[in-house]
Subunit: 241 residues, 3 copies
């Protein structure tokens, strides 16, 4: 029995990981799906990266979790990297699932193509509260390309505006991920085009981990919705010793 | 029920898409497999790219097709791009299957490695009618690498010399594919080595589409012969809304 | 019925290919699994690349093998390339399985990232006999990432220190692989991270073969242990005419 903590991506909440968590629980594991500060109902959209990281580090401490297999999806990679720097003694392994891998001083936007940054800058300026949303056509074609239109719509309706400061705040780390001694895995969905594959997740970002275990599965950036059981299998392969 | 028009690649005819079309028809769709000017029995091999494009645009108009899902394979990507520029109002979505994606002013040879251009230049010069064929060893090892030798031979026998001007004529477009407002998908066969993968189809050419839906399946450049049902499934995933 | 000769990688022996060979034998083929000089029990670890190549060329001659389908895994790619240069008339096809492809004058270390060369230099200097071993964490995470911890341990116990001169000796060839007239295939395991995928096996090394047949399968660098039947199927697809 292992303890998994699944940290969601931008626009998501922990609730949206519950169907994946159920498959892991059926396999005998304990699973937590916290929601990062800034994405909880009622959270101010002015939350920055430090507060986001602190909310997950606090979650581990408040629940006194240990030997945790800590997974981060997409933006969640920023958060688990910061958490690993703050409470390494509570962790057994990090799993990045099509996730950003920051070195100290980098922000998420540093790893994103310029046309996305420009789109986000524009949307956040127009939002009134420095939040960003993803236009539906981008969600449907580039994030959940392996799902039906119905699934794309029903899941889009569950997203929440994302606090943009968490994309523009540089992360502060006492050491870079490659220098962290903890075991690391990277799950890469081979049809993930949320980042253009010419400037993609793997190997561009995964190799910033130093030694890591690669697990690949077919699927999009939103495999948690389009095939949660496939994602759960990949997590188990990534999470074992 | 959707209307699919499947546009073949160089050396092929529309007939060679019929086994794929049958799977789509079984799924309830209407499917057309026209042959591009220059590849029809008896066509002069002096046909250029404009005439090739016009033959497909005319096909849509003569059959009064609308809401068409227009697929192009390989060289067929040149033809559907030109067709989309000429009659956008008849189309619902473009699907490129390991296909060339030209910007205005580009020719197919601009996207092909120099050693292929040199081979084609030589063959066309020797042909007497400015046509090119593919040497059998290239067909067998790099185009239909996932088929048996028997299949490689029986399909090679059905190919026809290709009008080389369609590779060297620059395409004229009123706007580039990324600026076309129509929905677009790209099907990438992951073992396709018809272009060397270091200078390959996806993401090098697919990303010229701007926002597009990626569908990937195992298989070679000639999946229409080696596993038509797999290709048909990919087309349905690429073609839905 | 074909004759296969399977040439293992660094740290391995021919015995470790026997479970793959059994699947090929069941399919009706004759299979040999020789051990390269330097990896046989009792061999001096001072063996260089010439002696390694000669041991396989001699094996073909001593057993009077002809029409051989000669497969090399990883370092074994150096050895089969040298063998093909010495006795081309005994061969029907070369199969590289996530293997090095040298041009004349290149050594294996020329194709490996600097941090691996530095690690090997250090280990060989400390070995007393110019041999190198692979640290277990690298084996577990980057070589056999698709296996269980138990499998990683039980197979690691069967490895032997590798004669480092075979990594640093340049190969002498009368012609480069692309110029060899023999048929060639490359099997690429898509989760192989023994070389970082940013500087990986395929297409970086495979394309040095010139015209070749690509076969890809899911799996790690050590698919011979984690899924021998999947590797055997890939070999049959790569080995047919």
């Amino acid at each position: 029995m292992s303890t998994y903590v699944l940290v969601h991506g931008a626009w998501h909440t922990g609730d949206l990981f519950e169907n994946v968590a159920d498959f892991l629980r059926e396999a005998g594991h304990k699973v937590h799906c916290p929601t990062i500060a800034g994405n909880r109902p009622g959270d101010a959209k002015s939350v920055g990266l430090d507060e986001a990281v602190r909310s997950i580090a606090d979650y581990l401490e408040n629940n006194d979790l240990s030997e945790v297999i800590l997974l981060g999806h997409s933006y969640g990679g920023m958060v688990i990297t910061g958490t690993a720097d703050r409470c390494p003694d509570r962790l057994r392994r990090l799993i990045y699932w099509n996730a950003f891998v920051p070195n100290g001083g980098e922000c998420l936007n540093d790893m994103v193509p310029p046309h996305y940054v420009a789109l986000f800058d524009e949307m956040s300026a127009a939002s009134g509260d420095n939040s960003v949303m993803l236009p539906f056509p981008v969600w449907r074609e580039a994030f959940i390309n392996d799902g039906s239109l119905e699934l794309a719509k029903s899941t889009y309706d569950k997203l929440n505006p994302h606090p943009y400061a968490t994309f523009t705040d540089p992360i502060s780390l006492s050491r870079n991920p490659a220098a962290m001694e903890i075991a690391k895995s990277y799950i890469n969905c081979t049809e993930d085009t949320a980042l253009p594959q010419s400037l993609g997740w793997h190997p561009r970002l995964s190799e910033k981990l130093g030694l890591f275990r690669l697990v690949q599965v077919p699927g999009s950036h939103e495999l948690c919705f389009s095939a949660p059981e496939v994602l759960a299998s990949a997590i188990l392969e990534a999470g074992c010793d």
